[in-house]
């Protein structure tokens, strides 16, 4: 272990400028002085700064997050811990969460994305779960923007570089391109883990005298004030912030997973927490606060990477692959032996007290003395002014030009937002652990629960253009689409994790988007019995005056009791019936057809009827589970014709179908009405009967067969042509000169 040489702790005068540099406003600083009864020193100011940053304190968002439903019989642990936990039967639990790493990934895409994966993995194995699947939701700027190619390349390589090495399959994700992300990309990473339901570990420190243990990598100067950076908008100097991006070491993470799980198999641990944003500060304060304990820390015992680090730097470092835990007394040697076997640092850095205070020592001197609860719990909470988003006009199909449907389909399938993501997912090891029973490219990925016939279905979804046009409907839609995607593979949706990516909350218009999205999400989660069990908020996603599209990414998790009864999107056999389930009105407002073919981004998004979602989805799940349907696909971006094309390409089998007379053809083919599924089955009749009985609109529209998509009027497009445009866009784009 490297000991830092005694260096005097800097002790500058705490000026207004220094306070402002730490992201605290005048009222917040007055509160600091009130809590302490004096002015803080620099170490203490740094600690307040990160603990009260938007990233750690949720001060702008808390009021609205509290309105989301978070309970249900399946919920073992809701928001407030490192990750959410749901019951999956047989004494097993799924542990999952999604988290953003937006700002670092824009500045340094490979390391930013890689450490995003590392951080979310730690949130999950901290709770005693073995990570079994990774997902990601990515938003990049316009393909024409000079930085986009470099960012795509770096982010994808970083996600793969980390996940592939730790040996957790990356099984699903979503990618959008839009100019609103030109200066502020989004990288949201989600991890799902498996644990025994009665062996969940929590971030609670209790028991005066119990040792506080530091394990994992050494602490360096990387990432200092990362949480503060994540709580401010970007200016022109954003790339100068590169030194605040951490560097990931997936090999150490892999060792840390194995060592922690090995120790967790004993009963030596009282509480455990990873050191994520705000590092040692946030982990120690959160654990102590939740457990009602006080802490004495001796920073001379912290393993450091370089000599001469100050208390300020050690407390605020965001070096990766580190954990803090509290052990039962006398169990140190047993724990140390496990970490030494895995060649990881292990250090007793302090002990718990009953003082309710955090007392931090360095070089034998006390460098900070802070009350724990006021810092961790009494963080500021704001009710920021907000404005609702004005309603957008409905767009009638007749106001949108009807292009040749096959030409339009080819253009959509070869567009940036709808083309094949193969170039991306082939860089992710999606098969390691030998349980990926449904691979990327379908509605949801399915990972078998190891050693059983159960499966976990997982998906990430959001349609930011809908949220921009109508935050309430957009919030509903993000949840509903995630629920549909799980349903479409035959799973029962259990719960969600949300990653709320928005602009500057101090702007009432942006705050209104956040408020509206929370309202819509809450309504959908309630109606669908699909509670929020974990999440993350990323605000200030702006560069200059440009805010991103409001992007509440939803990570959904569902359970399949038997993976033999799982649906995929691929057509399985010729001469099967195609049945469209749900009501088709031909809603073209905010559709991809409108944007890609008519060149317009306007109108109201499709409304979400939550009762219809529930009714239609419950029917589809039943049809899958009783073996009535052979293939199923949720209808979303691009509407019916895109869904047909995706099913045909996946099965390498065409189809022939007829449109009804009562809806304009382009609106029927490309409208993005919600609560719809397309299924294939040997017979249409049983599906139509079951639909009628359930009060669900359903129509037989055609049959599988041939090697093209063929309308009844004779117009057709071959699968070979479609596959070429669909597969070509991303590789061609990434190969082109930037």
């Amino acid at each position: 272990m490297t000991r830092s040489d005694p260096v005097p702790e800097p002790n500058p005068e705490i000026t207004d400028a220094l306070v402002a540099e730490h992201g605290l406003n005048a009222q917040e600083y007055a509160r600091v002085k009130e809590i302490l009864g004096r002015a803080p020193n620099l170490v203490e100011l740094g600690i307040f700064s990160v603990m009260w940053s938007e990233h750690c304190s949720y001060k702008s968002s808390k009021k609205w997050l509290k309105t989301l439903p978070t309970t249900g019989p399946q919920v073992i642990q809701g928001p407030g811990e490192n990750a959410g936990v749901v019951d999956i039967g047989d004494g097993q639990a799924a542990v999952f969460k999604m988290e953003s790493h937006n700002h670092p990934s824009f500045i340094e895409p490979y390391q930013g994305a890689a450490t995003g994966v590392g951080g979310i993995l730690r949130d999950v194995f901290t709770m005693g779960a073995r990570p079994v699947a990774n997902l990601n939701a990515l938003r990049f700027g316009s393909p024409e923007h000079p930085k986009t190619r470099h960012l795509v390349s770096g982010v994808v390589a970083g996600i793969g570089g980390y996940g592939n090495c730790v040996g957790v399959p990356t099984v699903a994700g979503e990618v959008n391109f839009h100019p609103a992300y030109n200066g502020n990309i989004l990288v949201n990473a989600m991890t799902v883990g498996l644990a025994e339901a009665d062996k969940i570990f929590y971030a609670r420190a209790s028991g005066a005298g119990n040792p506080v243990i530091y394990v994992g990598s050494k602490t360096g100067r990387d990432g200092i004030h990362g949480a503060t950076m994540a709580s401010a908008s970007f200016g022109d100097d954003s790339e100068e912030k590169r030194p605040t991006v951490q560097v990931g070491d997936p090999f150490t993470e892999k060792l840390l997973i194995e060592a922690c799980l090995e120790l967790m198999a004993t009963d030596a641990i009282v509480g455990i927490q990873d050191m994520g944003a705000a590092g040692l500060t946030s982990s120690s304060f959160e654990m102590a606060s939740k457990g009602g304990a006080g802490v004495e820390l001796d920073l001379d015992e912290v393993p450091v990477r370089e000599a001469g680090m100050t208390a300020y730097e050690i407390m605020l470092s965001e070096s990766q692959e580190r954990m803090l835990m509290v052990l039962k007394p006398g169990r140190e040697d047993e724990a140390r032996a496990i970490f030494e076997k895995w060649d990881l640092d292990f250090a007793v850095v302090g002990h718990l007290t009953d003082s309710g205070r955090m007392a931090i020592q360095k070089n034998g001197q006390q460098v900070a003395d802070l009350p724990i609860d006021p810092l961790a719990e009494a963080a500021p909470e704001y009710d920021r002014p907000w404005e609702p988003t004005p309603a957008q006009p409905e767009i009638a199909p007749d106001d949108v030009p009807a292009e040749d449907p096959c030409d339009a389909l080819a253009r959509l399938m070869g567009s940036a937002d709808l083309c094949s993501r193969r170039w991306i997912w082939e860089q992710y090891d999606h098969m390691v652990m030998a349980d990926t029973v449904q691979r990327p490219g379908g509605d949801a990925a399915v990972v078998r629960v190891h050693g059983t016939d159960k499966g976990l279905a997982v998906t990430v979804d959001c349609t930011p253009r809908y949220v921009l046009a109508d935050p309430v409907q957009g919030g509903r839609q993000a949840v509903a689409e995630s629920w549909r995607n799980l349903t479409a593979v035959g799973a029962m949706p259990l719960a969600v994790t949300d990653n709320m990516n928005f602009g500057n909350p101090e702007k009432p218009r942006v705050m209104g988007q956040f408020v509206g999205a929370c309202q819509g999400m809450g309504e959908a989660c309630t109606a669908l019995d699909y509670p929020v069990v974990s999440g993350n908020v990323s605000l200030y996603n702006e560069t200059g005056e440009t805010a991103i599209l409001p992007t509440p990414a939803i990570g959904g998790l569902g359970l399949l009791p038997d993976i033999a009864r799982m649906a995929t999107i691929a057509f399985k056999a010729g001469d099967e019936a195609l049945v469209l389930i749900g009501e088709t009105r031909g809603h073209l407002g905010q559709s991809l057809y409108l944007r890609e073919i008519a060149g317009r981004e306007d109108g109201a998004p499709p409304p979400v009827d939550l009762a219809a979602e529930r009714r239609n989805g419950d029917l589809v799940r039943k049809l899958i589970r009783d073996g009535t349907v052979s293939a199923c696909h949720d209808l979303s971006d691009g509407g019916l014709f895109v869904a047909l094309a995706e099913m045909a390409l996946a099965g390498d089998l065409g189809c022939e179908f007829a449109a009804p007379d009562d809806t304009p053809l382009h609106a029927w083919l490309f409208g993005e009405d919600q609560a719809r599924y397309l299924v294939a089955a040997p017979q249409a009749a049983p599906i139509l009967e079951a639909s009628a009985a359930a009060g669900v609109p359903a129509a037989a529209i055609g049959r599988t067969g041939g090697d093209s998509l063929k309308l009844s009027d004779g117009r057709a497009i071959s699968l070979a042509d479609l596959r070429a445009v669909h597969e070509q866009w991303l590789p061609a784009y990434m190969q082109a000169e930037g």
Binding site: C165, F251, L255, E426, V432, A434
Partner: protein, 229 residues
Amino acid sequence: MKSAVIVFPGSNRERDVADAIERTTGTRPHMVWHKESDLPKVDLIVLPGGFAYGDYLRCGAIAAHSNVIREVKRRAEQGTAVLGICNGFQVLIEAGLLPGALLRNRSLRFVCKEVGLEVDNADSAFTHRYQRGQRVVFLAAHGDGNYFVDDDGRRELEDQERIVFRYCDAKGQVTPEANPNGSVANIAGITNRAGNVLGLMPHPENLVEPALGGTDGRAMFEGLAEALS
């Protein structure tokens, strides 16, 4: 068949291959930690996929100098069957048990996808359940699988029929387009001169059951059990 799977810090397909062996042969392998200098008496030693020691030096370079590898080399010289998959293949090369080198993929990107393989040698303990010329599908999942050997080395491998698998297309043709990583002569797997050590990049262990999308890997483990029991 008694078998052992060597576990390095950073191995990540040790469970996959142990499960595949158990699923296909009925017997679970011993898991042997890299710091051991002794190996149980076994018929087959497996070096699994992963990123031993993080692969921060050349892939497999540090693992090749671990305690247990000295014993693996001794057993290999005595004729024990040794199977190195992916990172295990890289370790076998670094340990000098197989010739050549594994370089970064030609694309410079990690690649995870099913690959077609032509079985060029169906006489080994590893491949006798396959037919010569048969096309099988295994799973590639690697960033450094670009096999290199110089012209003399390649001729030697060919003359001694030590090239066991080559990447091929859906029709079984060994073409440049079917080569996922730039390997010389589409080489995916080779044996040592004695034929008891096989290294290959693609993973047979990930396609041994219909639920995972394929079963072509089964015959390798079933064949080993038959040949070695």
